[in-house]
Symmetry: C2
């Protein structure tokens, strides 16, 4: 195999350290007021969703966007998939704290008001909302060519906790608990800046299939994020999960967000296949970079007591998730450890 | 005076009809599910905020951005003001349905992670949040130079209704009620595409004062939006308002959003002064275009029973709003009528 320079996020112009530094500067500067009654924060920035209290209700809120995957949508002129992604990136973050999605607000920042494109995005948003059983309560469409080069699709979602259901923050996880992995449908909405550079560098055609055949590369890359809400709701109805994680930017490191002092030893992560094998082979990236950039086949992780594994698998099968991996288990050593790959992440 | 070609939004490349058409296409395509219990919509898109029901609570949600005012911030390299605007555009929309702001989520879409700029935006966001007594429950910073030419600052806000306070949707307005106007601090976050073209066309210097003196033009144009939440909360505590309107894009036409079948006859709108006089004189725009583009001095309208006017004015004065205009009254004829200007708008 030809030796290539590895494509890292730094090398494609994304400087995570500078972004983190700026973000910390922003949050320090805000110094928001901390309400003591209504609006009391139950869970602040850093987890998958924020939690606030209103009367007897606890509400979950999260905001996220589709990112540069829209540039692939633009290249292929297919927009339904990223519309569905807009819903998925948000409702999955609600499910990752055990909240049931209730309402979405979309924010579409677009350079031109092209009705055909907005209708296609709308069809995808609608499909995602119906899958998550989530309403649309508002939105904003900003048509500002001077700010936007390409459509930026983002949204904010509100979730609630049905009576008797507490939030699942991961604080109940203890060593010995088991991490189950639900399959992803591809890269979901993360890693596309790198993927697009790879396609460009290798001169790949989006219309041609991967080695091994199947759908054209572009269509596979554009596959919408899976929505895990129905599966997670089925598990929550049985009070099974003690921890939940949406595997997004940061990849498997997302597990480090669940409980400080507890780590994960993951000996059963599935071997990369399909797109993940493709990106590993072509990019020249080592496993450490790969597993913190892409979901590597697992889009959502459910942590359960070891005594609940069988019940969890049966519940997931009934909810339409027959293919679930036993990824590994919680351990008393912090960090996320993939021993087969020689990779250990200390935190998120 | 030299005769100039009028600068309309159409002439500066903003096609409101195409935007409305695309947006209708999007909403028709979405076909979101309509939950019947939790999450039932009380008020859909079209009003200032959406309302949803969770348990015993009614919640208000809204999402909005600062728009092209950021380009002025960029030119002047001053960012605190637009940070404050990000909060204002959202919390004022919550106040316009009578909700009390509870939590904001920011969405900062920026081309580069410049810590200095993000800190300044953060200071402005913090100032706005403290003014509105609103928390920060989450946010997302997307650093994507391929999507964004300049920072796009938007957010989503959640509000609630304290026990005993119903939403104020305008449905209780009846002919004879009185519209009171609260002063704006300038253009707030609307009309900047037009204003920037005007500055450019006239070759104006942002460092020079307006005719008549005062602060430099750029600083005046950048003044942050006023936050009306404290004033509106004071009125709501006294159960005074029957209608509330945030005067944003669409200007005075926003009053047409309150109650179908009821209109407003506004004989007491203040004469344009300061920036509003300046934009009227320089732009060549007629009153019809001016009053549907800019807030023309009034940033928020409160509709009260005629018997409550004195109590409303006293409450507003105690809340720090000594300068309030009696704009006119609700009438049985739909539309918004400014007879002194010969302008009548049929709807929003």
């Amino acid at each position: 195999m030809v030796r290539r320079e590895a494509l890292t996020y730094r090398s494609v112009g994304v400087d995570h350290q500078a972004i983190s530094r700026s973000l910390r500067g922003f949050l320090r500067a805000v110094r928001p007021p901390r309400p003591s009654g209504h609006g009391r924060l139950r869970l602040g920035p850093g987890h998958f969703s924020g939690l606030v209290r209103v009367g007897r209700e606890t509400l979950a809120l999260t905001t996220d966007g589709v990112g540069t995957k829209v540039l692939l949508a633009e290249q292929l002129d297919r927009w339904e998939e990223v519309g569905e992604d807009l819903v998925a990136v948000n409702v999955n973050d609600l499910s990752a704290v055990g909240a049931r999605p209730l309402a979405l607000l979309d924010y579409l920042a677009i350079p031109r008001p092209e009705e055909r494109i907005l209708r296609a995005i709308g069809r995808g948003v609608g499909r995602g909302l119906r899958r998550a059983r989530c309403g649309l309560v508002g939105g904003e469409t900003a048509v500002v060519p001077e700010l936007h080069r390409a459509p930026d699709l983002s949204g904010t979602a509100l979730g609630y906790f049905p009576p008797g259901r507490p939030p699942v923050t991961g604080e109940r996880i203890r060593p010995g608990d088991v991490a189950l992995g639900l399959p992803s449908s591809g890269f979901h909405a993360n890693g596309y800046t790198l993927v697009r550079r790879l396609v460009e560098r290798e001169g790949l055609r989006l219309g041609s299939p991967l080695p091994g055949g199947g759908a054209p590369l572009g269509r596979r890359l554009l596959a919408p994020s899976r929505i895990y809400t129905p599966a997670v709701e089925a598990l929550l109805a049985e009070k099974i999960p003690v921890g939940l994680a949406h595997v997004t930017g940061g990849g498997v490191r997302n597990l480090a967000r669940l409980r400080s002092g507890v780590g994960f030893l993951l000996e059963g992560w599935p071997k990369p296949s399909g797109l993940f094998r493709w990106v590993a082979d072509l990019s020249g990236l080592g496993p450490e970079e790969l597993y913190q950039t892409f979901n590597m086949g697992v889009g959502f992780v459910v942590v359960v007591r070891s005594s609940s594994v069988d019940r969890a698998l049966a519940t997931l099968a009934r909810a339409g998730e027959p293919k679930v991996w036993v990824l590994g288990r919680a351990v008393a050593t912090p960090g996320v450890h993939l021993p087969a790959l020689g990779v250990r992440y200390e935190g998120y």
